[in-house]
């Protein structure tokens, strides 16, 4: 329960809590740094040449891991001047950027030395959360490419779009700070953290991650599974299939050990989740059933209730499953369900079902 609470704290989105007038804290609770212990676990480099930073694991005083932290003192350079950015960056236990803290008296500043406003800090936090930011593909030089600027006069829309891309990915007036901090928050640090977490965090913590609502933690925990963990954590697996992101559902369906697919009850349970599955997961479910020598009749009946949720390809796969499973005659219960479905008003693939039924009669 304690872990659950801790993880709950870690995933508080956009938490902004009381802080001293000069301190700026984004994405982490204000009391986060009280009564914790720190342990160095490795270093990572930043986008500025020869810059290197230590990563520390934050744990409660009794040793429960909370997050990772790095104190950043990095030069941020444009083509005319350099300044120092000073802040703490935080990552969750799966290596995803979580938040930052700027100490009192060390406010981040814009290009013209104006300090960041509160809105700027909030925008910076949102930008750092975007692991797919366009900043990923930009070199520092790209941001001040004078040739690009000339091009923009010729091709309005091209460089207009580029400018817009950069505008949306940086704090206005803080192009180079945004760029540097994004690469620190979303760069090499993640690999260092993932490697450490995988080998050093206690197994109970993975179990708690599995139960969290955070897809990053869910996937991280699933990636640690041994074959026997799937059956041990079966209810959680079903819960993830019912409610997590398509990425997690598809990963899980691809990873379930073959022996679990052999279990007829489990087949039925999986099939009953069809309405909750995304399109890719439905395809994976059907492919797995197709790979079985004899898929459970009950599972096939479950799917028959939801034929209108299948795409044309999926329906064809399903009818193929029935053909293989029942080479001679379809059970009456299935025929009834198929007929009911094909008769539904406006059902678009009724002709496929009717043709199939005719071929089996």
């Amino acid at each position: 329960m304690k872990y659950r609470l801790l993880i709950g704290l870690l995933v508080l989105p956009f938490t902004l809590v009381a802080q001293s007038p000069e301190e700026h804290l984004q994405g982490v609770p204000g009391n986060f740094l009280q009564s914790v212990q720190l342990k160095s676990i490795g270093t990572f480099s930043g986008p500025v040449k020869e810059s290197s930073f230590q990563i520390q694991l934050l744990s409660t005083l009794d040793g429960h891991p909370l997050a990772y932290k790095a104190s950043i003192q990095s030069p941020v350079c444009s083509d005319t001047l350099c300044q120092i950015v000073s802040c703490d960056l935080f990552w969750d236990l799966a290596g995803y950027y979580q938040g930052f803290r700027v100490e009192a008296g060390k406010a981040l500043t814009k290009f013209d030395h104006w300090p960041f406003s509160e809105a700027d800090y909030e925008k910076l936090h949102r930008l750092l959360q975007d692991e797919f930011s366009l900043l990923k593909q930009k070199n520092l030089n790209d941001l001040i490419d004078h040739e690009q600027k000339r091009k923009s006069q010729k091709y309005d829309a091209v460089t207009g779009a580029t400018a817009l891309e950069i505008q949306n990915s940086v704090v206005p007036g803080a192009l180079f700070s945004s760029y540097t901090l994004w690469h620190l928050a979303n760069g090499e640090a993640k690999s260092v953290i993932v490697k450490y977490s995988e080998s050093h965090l206690p197994p109970e913590l993975f179990h708690q991650m599995l139960q969290s609502e955070d897809p990053h933690y869910q996937l991280f925990a699933l990636k640690q599974f041994e074959t026997e963990d799937y059956s041990k954590n079966w209810p959680f697996c079903l819960k993830l299939l019912a409610g997590s992101t398509p990425l997690i559902k598809q990963y899980l369906l691809k990873s379930l050990p073959a022996e679990l697919w052999q279990d007829e009850n489990r087949q039925q349970q999986l099939a009953s989740l069809l309405p909750a599955l995304d399109s890719g997961s439905k395809t994976l479910l059907l492919i797995h059933l197709q790979d079985l020598q004899k898929p459970a009749k009950a599972a096939l009946e479950e799917i028959a209730w939801h034929l209108d949720l299948l795409s044309r390809n999926q329906l064809i796969t399903y009818l193929g499953l029935l053909k293989t499973r029942f080479p001679r005659k379809l059970p009456a219960s299935l025929v009834e369900q198929l007929e009911r479905q094909s008769r539904k008003t406006n059902y678009r693939y009724g002709n496929l079902i009717e043709t199939f039924i005719r071929s089996k009669s």
Binding site: Q137, Y155, P215, L247, Q250, S255, S279, G280, N346
Partner: protein
């Protein structure tokens, strides 16, 4: 100078309008002599059986298509049209049309049946002699007509794909002469940038080259029909590629036309190069591990040519030439362990723990403009199932449909149609916003801009690690500095996002190299490949899939082909025995 077979095409247009037999008359819609506003769509021949006519009016019914046929026997004819409702559901079919024979209009709306199939039009009494057939678009939303069957018998023409193919072939055999043979030093199939570069490079070296392409214009994804700008660097082939590439205009821009003119002019002016535009390859002939011929059919007349040569280049993108010849190929994402291509930064969405069939998707680009006056756009309930409440006034590279459920080749038509629904629905939603009364759909492509499909296996399989480690090769004929760029569907991480938008992941690798050994088949001994079907992993494709890089591949194999001819050897021998001479030739042509 090229010598396209224009005379036989013209002749066949007249003769082939209808294939008659005692059973009836088959009229292929794509062979209509006047197409009005209908377009010929040959993209899905391998799936649905034939090029077809489509009324791509972006919401405005297009002009009638019409043709004349000769009826030999008087009588009561039963009429069918092969068509499909491309967006079935609880709404009126989006693409509907009517058929007219002479002055008789059949009021039965066509294009309403789910999936490709024959729809009964009606019956008509016809005298022997010339008759006029007319297709009347009713909706402007991509009605499609594959063929018309007119018979004195009441027997339905076959729907089963195999039976239909036989039916067609039997009718054609009774109407067509045997395919003609044409022999070349090199046959290049696919007229995208890679194919153009291969053909031009080989022709420059004196080879007699045939370039077979299924569209009227060259350039593939860079053409005015798809309008993707070319990315990447020129490597050792700047001189050739500058004759073919594009400026860096926004994707979808009509500026594509001026680059297309340049490309067309340069290709048509190239000595030894024979362009076969509107010809689509449909088969290969092999002997042992060698291809002896590629068979191609004119997309409108149906005329066939058998192209023979000692060497072939597969620039089809989908790897058709290799596929038909039995070459080994890949499709889908390898597991991260297969080639150690994992990257912690993006983990599972970069390279999955277990292999699957998800690949990067295809795009349909589109744009809108401000009309001088109010512009009405029809209700599109069938499109909103896909677009939902998403609103947009243009679509660029990230309008990309990626789904485990859709195969980039087998389901290409469904992918295109899904994107059309996304476009028309999103535009409709945009029009609902205040101040958008004058917004008008300016252009929507009907051709898929594909990124990834089959990849043929060569002697070397190029992977992410070759880029990540900047690995040089003795035969590094292609070089690139563009970041590796792999896409995934936005709704993979957030199901509430539209399923037709993608996100890109970038890896900055610096300078990386592709060896010549990735540009010929490992098991079909006289087959080169250039373009997205070169020998690589899914992630390996992420960097070099753009068109200047694929153009480098094309130019490299075109030059290699000239050495193959000179020494009477297969592509592999260039890597094993003639590499220094190959390099000299590459460097000297710059």
């Amino acid at each position: 100078m090229k010598t396209t077979s224009l005379f036989p095409v013209t002749l066949y247009l007249f003769l082939l309008t209808a294939c008659s037999s005692p059973q009836g008359i088959l009229v292929e819609a794509e062979s209509f002599s006047e197409k009005g506003g209908w377009v010929v769509d040959p993209q899905f021949v391998e799936q649905m059986g034939s090029p077809y006519l489509m009324a791509h009016g972006m919401g405005i019914p297009v002009e009638d298509a019409r043709t004349s046929i000769e009826v030999e026997e008087s009588g009561r004819y039963h009429l069918w049209v092969r068509s499909m409702n491309w967006a079935p559901g609880p709404w009126e079919a989006p693409g509907q049309f009517l058929m007219k024979i002479n002055d008789q209009l059949f009021n039965h709306s066509l294009g309403t049946q789910t999936g490709w199939g024959w729809e009964k039009v009606g019956e008509i009494d016809l005298d022997a002699g010339r008759q006029e057939l007319v297709l009347q678009d009713q909706t402007g939303f991509n009605a499609r007509c594959d063929a018309i069957w007119m018979s004195l018998s009441t027997k339905n023409p076959p729907d089963d794909p195999l039976e239909l193919e036989l039916f067609r072939n039997n009718l054609k055999q009774s109407s067509l002469s045997v395919a003609s043979d044409q022999n070349f030093d090199l046959v290049v199939v696919g007229g995208g940038i890679a194919g153009c570069a291969a053909a031009m490079a080989a022709a420059e070296q004196g080879l007699q080259v045939a370039l077979i392409h299924d569209r009227p214009v060259l350039g593939g994804n860079a053409s005015s029909e798809i309008r993707v700008h070319t990315l990447g660097i020129y490597g050792k082939f700047e001189r050739i590629l500058k004759k073919l590439d594009t400026e860096h205009y926004p994707n979808g821009s009509p500026e594509a036309f001026s680059d297309e003119e340049k490309r067309q002019r340069n290709m048509e002016g190239q000595a030894n190069l024979h362009l076969f535009l509107n010809w689509r390859a449909f088969d290969t002939e092999t002997k042992g591990n060698r291809i002896t011929a590629v068979n191609a059919r004119h997309t409108e007349s149906g005329e066939e040519i058998r192209f023979t040569a000692p060497l072939f280049v597969d620039c089809t993108g989908d790897g058709w030439i290799g596929y038909w010849s039995g070459a080994a190929y890949f499709y889908g994402r390898e597991s991260a362990d297969t080639y150690q291509e994992g990257w912690d930064q993006y983990g599972e969405i970069w390279s999955p723990e277990s292999a699957d069939q998800a690949v990067m998707g295809a795009s349909v680009l589109w744009r809108s403009c401000q009309n001088d006056s109010a512009y009405q756009f029809p209700e599109v309930p069938w499109a909103l199932e896909v677009a939902k409440n998403y609103a947009a006034d243009k679509g660029t590279w990230n309008w990309e449909f990626i789904s485990l459920d859709y195969h980039q080749i087998d389901d290409a038509e469904a992918i295109r149609d899904h994107l059309l629904m996304a476009i028309f629905g999103s535009f409709y939603n945009q029009k609902l916003k205040p101040g958008k009364e004058n917004l008008k759909l300016e252009w929507v492509s009907y051709l898929l801009g594909k990124r990834e499909s089959r990849r043929l296996e060569g002697d070397y399989i190029y992977t992410f690690n070759d880029a990540r480690e900047n690995r040089p090769f003795p035969d590094s004929v292609v070089v690139e500095i563009r970041e590796i760029d792999v896409h995934y569907p936005q709704n993979l991480l957030d199901e509430s996002k539209p399923d037709f938008l993608s996100e890109a992941m970038y890896f900055k690798a610096g300078r990386y190299y592709i060896p010549y050994r990735s540009l010929y088949s490992k098991d079909i001994e006289n087959l080169f490949m250039a373009g997205r079907c070169f020998s690589c992993s899914h992630i390996g494709l992420g960097g070099p899939r753009v068109m200047r890089t694929t153009g480098q591949m094309g130019a490299a194999v075109g030059i290699a082909a000239s050495l193959c001819k000179k020494h009477q050897v297969n592509p592999r021998a260039i890597a094993e025995e003639y590499l220094s001479e190959y390099w000299e030739l590459i460097l000297s042509q710059q």
